[in-house]
């Protein structure tokens, strides 16, 4: 068995997600990502089960594995009990671990995501938090969200939240002792190591692309090149 396939096989999502694919294409037929992007989960499962190391490496370095929305619609329908979405998660995990994600545009988006989400979790205890929700990054959220964010204390108070308050309730300030526990969990389970690895690889890529790191973070968050979509 090749090295990459071997690494994938250790991932529990891979163990659960890939039994034997009969290449029927049912997953692709139901997949919302396949309708939108140049994406075909059937092909991914087939590539992986062929155990061709060079092809698996190409996949780990491609945009392809980053097109999935992890909706798991494919899981309900696969006649062989595979879970394409879980196999994708294991491929992404390995791509992140090996630094291959920086080889593709959609893969490079892993850095702004990591910065935003793990930053929120470790600093606030929430994945998403009003203190870091910038309406300018979310024009789709509309004038009403801008109003909420510009009047946080009043509006959240009006809606019965306990914004930044003590004790239970929505949007309460999560006590520091609990944030310390989250940090300890990240340290013990490889979460912190992963954040550092993704940051290091991204910094190297930013230098290679001739960008300073803030510029790279913004660019990877916002830029979309032509060629990803089915209707192009």
């Amino acid at each position: 068995m090749g090295k990459l396939y071997d690494l994938l096989s250790r991932d529990y999502r891979f163990k659960e997600g890939l039994k034997t694919c009969i290449n029927c294409g049912t997953c692709t037929a139901i997949c919302p990502a396949a309708e939108f992007y140049k994406y075909d989960p059937r092909k991914i499962l087939d590539t992986v089960q062929r155990k061709d190391e060079a092809e698996i490496e190409a996949l780990l370095k491609s945009d392809t594995i980053w097109y999935c929305g992890e909706c798991m619609s494919c899981v309900t329908r696969c006649p062989r009990g595979n879970a394409a979405g879980l196999v994708i998660m294991s491929l992404r995990n390995l791509s992140a671990q090996l630094g291959y994600f920086t080889c593709s545009e959609k893969g490079r988006q892993l850095w702004p995501l990591t910065k935003m989400l793990t930053g929120n979790i470790l600093h606030t205890g929430y994945c998403v938090h009003p203190s870091t929700f910038n309406p300018d990054d979310h024009p789709e959220s509309g004038p009403v969200s801008r109003w909420v964010i510009e009047n946080k204390d009043e509006v959240f108070g009006r809606l019965g939240a306990n914004y930044q308050g003590k004790g239970p309730g929505a949007l309460r300030r999560i006590p520091q002792e609990d944030l310390d526990e989250l940090q300890a969990i990240f340290d013990v389970t490889g979460g912190s190591e992963r954040i550092a690895a993704v940051e290091d690889a991204s910094r190297r890529k930013a230098a290679e692309m001739g960008m300073d790191f803030d510029e790279y973070t913004k660019y990877t968050f916002e830029h979309c090149s032509p060629g990803h979509f089915n209707n192009e």
């Binding site: 939108f36 909706c71 619609s73 989400l117 959240f156 968050f221």
Partner: protein, 356 residues
């Protein structure tokens, strides 16, 4: 025999939901975008219907969004969830109810993975002990908050001040629903009605007087897609999927969309605003959108709670046409007040989507 066989098959689609004593964990998205829904979940279950729902300030995110955006390893996500189980155990509960479908899917996936691979559960127990000095029992029952509201739908109907019926015609309102992918697509036997006949929302809508309308893309994803929404460059994915759902439900003239997931009511609301602004198209009557509600918002309206206490002012699609249809009283002047009736600046208005 045939009848018994059918009963047996249907039993696979049922879910045991204990009646009382739940440990409650919140949703990151809902706290940010629909905090009043969580408040009214507790108000309805505890204060109106007398159930024991316990919440501790020490619980945190389940890290589900970070997990599904592939930013943390599986073991990190599992250990964060193991800590929530430890808080539940320490508080003396064995049933966990979560306000979030992503969490519900995450917890379910973790428990199922541990069932299949006990050595992984053992490793997570060790890691949790090392990081937090905590131990846990696994929940005996795991529910999504809507499961509980579904269970209580009859008691809510008994106390209803309004029914989901048009005041003008006496006809039931036309309700379309959106279940949310992670509720039952991955583990169908964990949701009420499974993946084929999910009735958690339709059961509520019908119990409160509405008529549930089927539409072709009823089970299609709302398009959240985790990284496909959170990264600005990818958001067209999210919009396109929701657009597909709107186009599919439009010919059936729904009066409202009832949603299950934390993200779904946000997307089904805000993408109507975006489509109106970009293309001039609106899906409701007379230039309005179709209101997309959480199940607590709908339960609250039926129970006669003031719409502005329920947070219906933080939707971008105006709720007033629906309130008028049912005949619910509201004071337009109080819509955008702050705390203690304080007057604050009101929000800007969209240019195309009609708002009140």
């Amino acid at each position: 025999m045939i009848y018994q066989g059918k009963q047996k098959i249907w039993a696979d689609y049922q879910k045991e939901i204990p009646d009382n004593h739940w440990f409650y964990v919140r949703s990151c998205i809902r706290q940010n975008f629909f905090p009043a829904s969580e408040k009214y979940f507790l108000t309805i279950c505890r204060d109106m219907l007398g159930r024991d729902i316990y919440e501790t300030e020490h619980h945190t995110t389940c890290a589900g969004i970070a997990y599904h955006c592939d930013t943390i390893p599986q073991e990190t996500a599992m250990t964060v969830v193991a800590r929530q189980f430890a808080l539940m155990t320490e508080a003396g509960y064995d049933s966990l109810v979560t306000s979030c479908i992503t969490s519900f899917g995450n917890y379910t996936e973790i428990l199922e993975t541990w069932r299949e691979f006990p050595e992984l559960e053992a490793k997570i127990r060790e890691q949790l002990w090392k990081a937090c000095r905590r131990e846990f029992e696994k929940p005996k029952y795991l529910a999504h908050a809507s499961d509980l509201m579904y269970k209580l739908r009859g008691e809510i109907a008994e106390r209803a001040q309004y029914r989901l019926v048009s005041r003008a015609t006496g006809e039931p309102l036309r309700v379309v629903e959106h279940i949310g992918c992670h509720y039952s697509k991955m583990f169908p036997h964990k949701g009420v009605g499974g993946a084929e006949y999910p009735c958690v929302l339709s059961g509520m809508a019908e119990a409160w007087g509405g008529q549930v309308i089927d539409y072709p893309e009823r089970r299609h994803c709302c398009g959240y897609g985790f990284r496909q929404y959170h990264v600005k460059a990818n958001r067209g994915y999210s919009l396109s999927n929701t657009h597909k759902k709107f186009e599919s439900m439009e010919p059936f003239h729904p009066d409202l969309i009832l949603t299950n997931c934390p993200g779904c009511p946000y997307f089904l609301d805000r993408w109507q605003y975006v489509i109106a602004e970009m293309e001039g198209k609106t899906y409701g009557q007379n230039g309005y959108g179709i209101p997309a509600l959480t199940y607590e918002e709908l339960a609250g309206l039926v129970l006669g709670v003031d719409p502005w206490d329920l947070g219906l002012q933080v939707h971008q699609v105006a709720i007033e046409p629906l309130l008028d249809k049912i005949g619910i009283d509201y004071d337009p002047a109080r819509k955008y007040l702050g705390m203690n009736e304080k007057k604050i600046k009101t929000p800007g208005l969209p240019t195309t989507l009609k708002c009140c």
